[in-house]
């Protein structure tokens, strides 16, 4: 998507720019409060002075946040990195079949897959917890990865399928005529052009697994809690006075990986969003 060169007259242009800038300020308000509070020493970090800059800059909130959240961050890395890798491989194979090796009824299967993308996970949570217990995965990181990967199949399949539909059928036919089987064709024709779809899927899955709270709180245990659950626990109404500088630093720390991924690879992120809209 290339932006057109501005064409409207100067006054119109200026008004638009002013309104857009006003919204930028509004959008950044939460970030401002988070950042300034996180760098305040404990005695300054109070809701009543939320809007003022720190008088003394301090990183004590950040180091306390790091110490407290580290186990959760480690769990989140394990879950989100391995989960998104498995998701991408599965999505790629599924998308390949559903775009180039359709079988009778494959549209119905695809539609049934897609519905899985929208279901409220509460509607599977009670039996899912039981099933994971039976599989001896209850409360483990592997159990969380399994849940994320399975319920991620629909979106990943969708992204790859929509991407592979744009690869000309003639290429596949040519490979077939040359005697290449399904997997051979995938390996030598599809996989080499799949880079963008892999990027979209990996970013999308990484972000949603990192930010997940629902699965973690229903299926996790203290050992396997990702950073979102730990953050929510520290932010909760504890008996001890809340250390606001640490709390704000924790929130920033928990958001940094996904925000960095987004800032560095935002273009791919956008395409993932479009795929999520089905008809992007």
């Amino acid at each position: 998507m290339t932006a057109p060169v501005p064409t409207a007259g100067r006054p119109v242009q200026a008004v638009k720019l002013a309104v857009l800038l006003a919204f930028v300020l509004l959008f950044l308000i939460p970030v401002y409060v988070l950042v300034v509070t996180s760098f305040k020493p404990l005695d300054e970090a109070d809701p009543s002075s939320a809007w003022s800059l720190p008088r003394h800059w301090s990183t004590s909130g950040w180091s306390a946040a790091w110490d407290e959240l580290r186990p959760g961050l480690e769990n989140s890395v394990k879950i989100a990195v391995s989960g998104s890798l498995i998701s991408a491989v599965l999505g790629s194979l599924n998308g390949y079949v559903l775009s180039k090796w359709r079988f009778p009824g494959s549209d119905v299967v695809f539609t049934l897959f897609l519905f899985g993308m929208f279901i409220p996970y509460q509607a599977v949570m009670i039996p899912l917890a039981g099933l994971l217990t039976d599989m001896e995965l209850s409360g483990t990181i592997r159990g969380l990865i399994l849940a994320h990967v399975v319920y991620g199949i629909p979106i990943c399949t969708l992204i790859f399928r929509n991407y592979y539909v744009t690869v000309p059928d003639e290429l596949i036919e040519a490979a077939r005529v040359d005697g290449a089987g399904m997997l051979r064709t995938y390996w030598s024709i599809m996989l080499p052009v799949s880079g963008p779809a892999f990027a979209v899927t990996l970013i999308w899955q990484f972000t949603s697994m990192w930010n997940d709270f629902l699965f973690a709180v229903f299926l996790g245990a203290p050992d396997s809690w990702p950073v979102t659950v730990m953050l929510n626990n520290t932010a909760g109404s504890g008996a001890v006075a809340v250390q606001y500088n640490q709390q704000m630093a924790s929130a920033l720390l928990a958001s940094l990986p996904t925000v960095l991924v987004y800032l560095l690879l935002g273009r791919f992120f956008m395409r993932g969003l479009m795929a999520g809209a089905l008809k992007g």
């Binding site: 064409t7 390949y96 539609t111 409220p120 849940a147 199949i153 704000m248 987004y262 008809k279």
Partner: protein, 297 residues
């Protein structure tokens, strides 16, 4: 669809079969099992399942917290969906013709999507703090400083409008997404169409009203479905900002409370089934329409 000989399509089916089994079991199998729990009399963790003919689905409405939870979800959905759609479309409209620094604007409007509600909830809880004027904090304090004290309110703790305030962080998070959808949509409308309308003497506003927006119905529908299903399921945001308080009780939180606090699987499953039906009514027609429409093109 062309039916090829099975030798040709069987390998594809085989390659897809692990996912078919997984979705079949984890989505449809577990939904079936959850419905089974909802139809049972298992109101504690030890009793047998039994079968009580849907009594839970009726009795739920007599629970003091349930009708309010449904109302809260509806108010939240209305404010969030309309708010995010209007703001997103408005931002896209402002950027449509090209603006200096467009890429930076896009990044800033979209970044909230990369942040979890659990993290942003930490700060929204501060910003939307209802403390009275003499010790006002957050937005109320800001209003006070800007001599807009009249705008101060009790935010999400207001019994009538609380859920509308609760929708603000959700609008903050999702309107950039809507903007991205509409911006792509605006730019896909052929310039000749707009030009033709201009030649016929249409004002710029009328070009949008009668030429551009009608072309964007599929995008509006997609956005409605995406926002609508997120909204019905809202859980993280409420848990992060208000926890389990009754004033912002919604079905997704109610499921959690029934299962973990009241140890009542049957009621938890019943609420989850209601949620599923609400989402299904919204999504299934759209899915069928989408997949079918694609085939006929």
């Amino acid at each position: 669809m062309k039916f090829r000989r099975s030798r040709k399509w069987l390998p594809g089916l085989l390659l897809l079969s692990p996912s078919i089994v997984a979705i079949g079991l984890f989505v449809y199998g577990l939904i079936f099992w959850n419905t089974r729990v909802a139809l049972s009399g298992k109101h504690d963790e030890v009793s047998e399942y039994g079968f009580d003919k849907g009594k839970n689905f009726v009795d739920l409405w007599d629970q003091p917290s349930w009708p309010g939870a449904v109302q809260n979800a509806l108010v939240f959905t209305a404010v969030f969906v309309v708010g995010a759609l209007v703001l997103g479309a408005f931002l896209a409209f402002l950027m449509d013709k090209g603006i200096r620094g467009e890429a930076s604007f896009r990044v800033i409007y979209l970044f909230p999507m990369a942040v979890s509600f659990i993290a942003s909830g930490v700060v929204w809880r501060w910003l939307m703090n209802p403390a009275p004027p003499e010790r006002a904090v957050g937005f109320n304090q800001l209003f006070d400083k800007l001599h807009l004290g009249a705008l101060a309110n009790s935010w999400w703790q207001d019994p009538t409008w609380g859920m509308a305030a609760m929708a603000l962080p959700a609008i903050w998070q999702m309107s950039g997404y809507v903007m991205a959808l509409y911006l792509a949509g605006f730019r896909s409308v052929p310039e000749e169409l707009r030009e033709a309308a201009r030649v016929d003497g249409a004002s710029e506003w009328k070009v949008y009203r009668y030429v551009v927006f009608p072309q964007l119905r599929p995008i509006t529908l997609s956005a409605l479905i995406i926002l609508g299903h997120i909204s019905l399921k809202v859980f993280d945001l409420i848990m992060a900002i208000a926890g389990k308080q009754i004033v912002t009780y919604v079905p997704a939180v109610a499921t959690f409370v029934e299962i973990f606090d009241r140890h009542d699987p049957a009621n938890g499953a019943t609420i989850a089934t209601y949620l599923l039906v609400a989402v299904a009514v919204l999504v299934i027609p759209y899915l069928v329409w989408s997949v079918r429409g694609e085939r006929s093109r």
